[in-house]
Assembly symmetry: C4
Homo-oligomer: 256 residues x 4
Amino acid sequence: MTVVERETQDETRVPESRLQRWEALAEWPLAACAAAFLALFSVKVLGQPQGLNKHIIHGLLFTLYLPFVVDYVARLTLAEQRARWFFRHLLDLVVVVLPLMGPLLLLRLVALVGALQRAIGDAIRGRVVAYTAFSAVLLVYAASLAVLQVERPASGANITSFGDAVWWSVTTITTVGYGDLYPVTVLGRIVAALLMIGGISMVGAITATIASWIVQRVSAEDSAQQAATVAHIESLQAEVARLADLVAAQLDTRSR
Amino acid sequence: MTVVERETQDETRVPESRLQRWEALAEWPLAACAAAFLALFSVKVLGQPQGLNKHIIHGLLFTLYLPFVVDYVARLTLAEQRARWFFRHLLDLVVVVLPLMGPLLLLRLVALVGALQRAIGDAIRGRVVAYTAFSAVLLVYAASLAVLQVERPASGANITSFGDAVWWSVTTITTVGYGDLYPVTVLGRIVAALLMIGGISMVGAITATIASWIVQRVSAEDSAQQAATVAHIESLQAEVARLADLVAAQLDTRSR
Amino acid sequence: MTVVERETQDETRVPESRLQRWEALAEWPLAACAAAFLALFSVKVLGQPQGLNKHIIHGLLFTLYLPFVVDYVARLTLAEQRARWFFRHLLDLVVVVLPLMGPLLLLRLVALVGALQRAIGDAIRGRVVAYTAFSAVLLVYAASLAVLQVERPASGANITSFGDAVWWSVTTITTVGYGDLYPVTVLGRIVAALLMIGGISMVGAITATIASWIVQRVSAEDSAQQAATVAHIESLQAEVARLADLVAAQLDTRSR
Amino acid sequence: MTVVERETQDETRVPESRLQRWEALAEWPLAACAAAFLALFSVKVLGQPQGLNKHIIHGLLFTLYLPFVVDYVARLTLAEQRARWFFRHLLDLVVVVLPLMGPLLLLRLVALVGALQRAIGDAIRGRVVAYTAFSAVLLVYAASLAVLQVERPASGANITSFGDAVWWSVTTITTVGYGDLYPVTVLGRIVAALLMIGGISMVGAITATIASWIVQRVSAEDSAQQAATVAHIESLQAEVARLADLVAAQLDTRSR
């Protein structure tokens, strides 16, 4: 159905629910593609294959990239208010268009993290931490490959080995930024910018988790100052109900 | 009326409401001026026009700057407690006085962001994120132009192309600060300082959004620990009301 | 009285209230001393007076420093549990002992900020922001003077002018840290460390303010999800009271 | 018992409670070992003993390291769902395996901090701050020793004295990262990465503490907007109870 949708870009409003169904449907397949893409790209960057192998890998990488274009178009088509959706998903557009520039295809992995993030709808703090850690590791690894791929050939580049790339990624995502290593190419700097945004979100998630933990601890400390909970209201409700029965009893006694 | 106000700097107390009316009135026109100013300044910095064009652009830039001076004076005049208002709006003064130093005029764009920030009085998290992103992009672009304008002619400057300026702005607003590029002039450093403050606020907004999201999620998880909501109180109120009717019924039955 | 206290370091428990009375008493005088000290130190560092003037200024600086030693000893003496107090105020000890190393005397200004912080016991967000900004400006200025004073004479130092010192302080307090300028002496690095701690607290305060603002906005948005407030409970209480009157009315009607 | 457990890696489910009992039992002994290890390692790094002393110290360090291996194996064995526990404690594995690489043994001290963190289950903000400060100081000291130990012999290293190492640690944990000093060896960079993570958590804890303080202050300010507390509910409950008595009284009067 979505294929038809995609071909006939008619302006007829499509119920939101269909977009959601599509997203639920496409989520994990896309995540799988992103993961496979990361694996292949690792081979490409670290193994630096030559001749035929190189072409095979490029072909596979392109094949793994197509689904994301399909997904983007499908979601844009299914969106109820296309204009609104378009502006709310500019990042998705960037990620779909930029990949043609090669290593940035890796940024598709942000989709994987995104999927995981969505998967923790009913998250407890523990999970937030877990997913934050996972996203950080993934981002560092993906960014290291991407930056190495674009910097290695550049003249005057100082990120020339995978070890250096990882070290640079860590200093960047933590916003420490020693400056002993830094990208010198435009693509490398775009990767860096996305990594920094990831870093800031990561720091935010960690801080937020600690904050919610402290807020709870502090309020739990002094029970008089503790916020009234549903449990309290319910106990009160029970008391009122008991009172109602008492009054009802009166009516009975008199009616006799 | 505000013009009269502005001319006669009399000490008579002006009701707060009039200041607010003025601000509501001036908000969007000023934002428009700031946007137009940014566009023109972009032409000046990136196009580096010569001869007549240069003078025309300077003239237009100055014309677009005047409204902000007018606005500042008007607000100061309309303020109920001028002294208090003056100290609470020192940044506005800086922004109105500094522009005479040229590129810093760009900082007026903070006004645009400010207007947007005020526009989200009833913001949901999504909007906070949207405006944060918008402010960040705007700040990076404006600061890049400003720093390029002041650094390019300076001797020993290392920010000499627009690409470099943008890269420097990104590393600065994220507080990564590699140090591969940095301003060497006083004006450039003032731009940098304002950019850093913007960056810190940006990080704060992101963290805060995640925090409020987590706090809500955590409390929603364990309904017994969930904070009592207005909804709960209302259901309880309904029960009490039902009880009141029951008692009222008794009075009727007896009165018969 | 406190003088006597200070001389006779007897182990008799002193009621907490007396410590608090002393602190309330000493707060503003100490703040005044710190301010005067900052002014004088500015003259010393920026004016670089020679000969007699130099000695006069040193004398005055020392005189302004004594009160802080007195204050520290007094508070330690008046503290109910001296050991506990001692470990909880290690920073105060550092600030009282280190000043003998000269420029670090400036760090006493942290006391001024501390006083202000305490003064906002009933703070609204606006005040938090105001005091954060004030503390930041004060810290940057004080640290700039201190670092300039200790770095200028050092060989291989790169912070040699007041402008550079301020620029370095700003990049440090915002944790950007380009690394174009950095202290090379031990004293300069201690100043830097204290400035970084100040910066982290500043960032924390800004983030926290935004967070509490968002949390309130979000909960205010959906009144059904809004946390139950005292106002709600009171309205409910009124209803229950009305019900009580109704029941009381029954008793009257029957007793007739 | 745990020894037996460790030897017979049988798949029989062990009640969670036994794991907890073990952790409670092992907590402080392990902390003591970590502290002793830090002291000895300080001697090794700062004293640089030669000949026999060197071998003695190495022996002692190894002896102090064994308990952590035992602890890890024991906990893995006692864990109810081993797989889940394994993935949730990957960091512990790293810390137990990496130490064989020498200086990283120091990272075991994270265990000490961890123990303290757990010890503040019923923490008030003050304690959070105290433990944050303690953790920071400990991390800086431990990381300084570790990085000095691995960098000193490296060619092209710029962290060659303890003073430099401490200064580097401070600029790193605060995420300032001037870049005047930075590790060049793989081990040094691993230490740095762990230090950065510590720094981010530290910043998070500080921000969170301030946030919870502000949230409380703000809500306390306007009692109408103040969140309903258990105290309020209880007062309401009392009123309802009083009403119930009133109704009960009616029943009595009639039954007469």
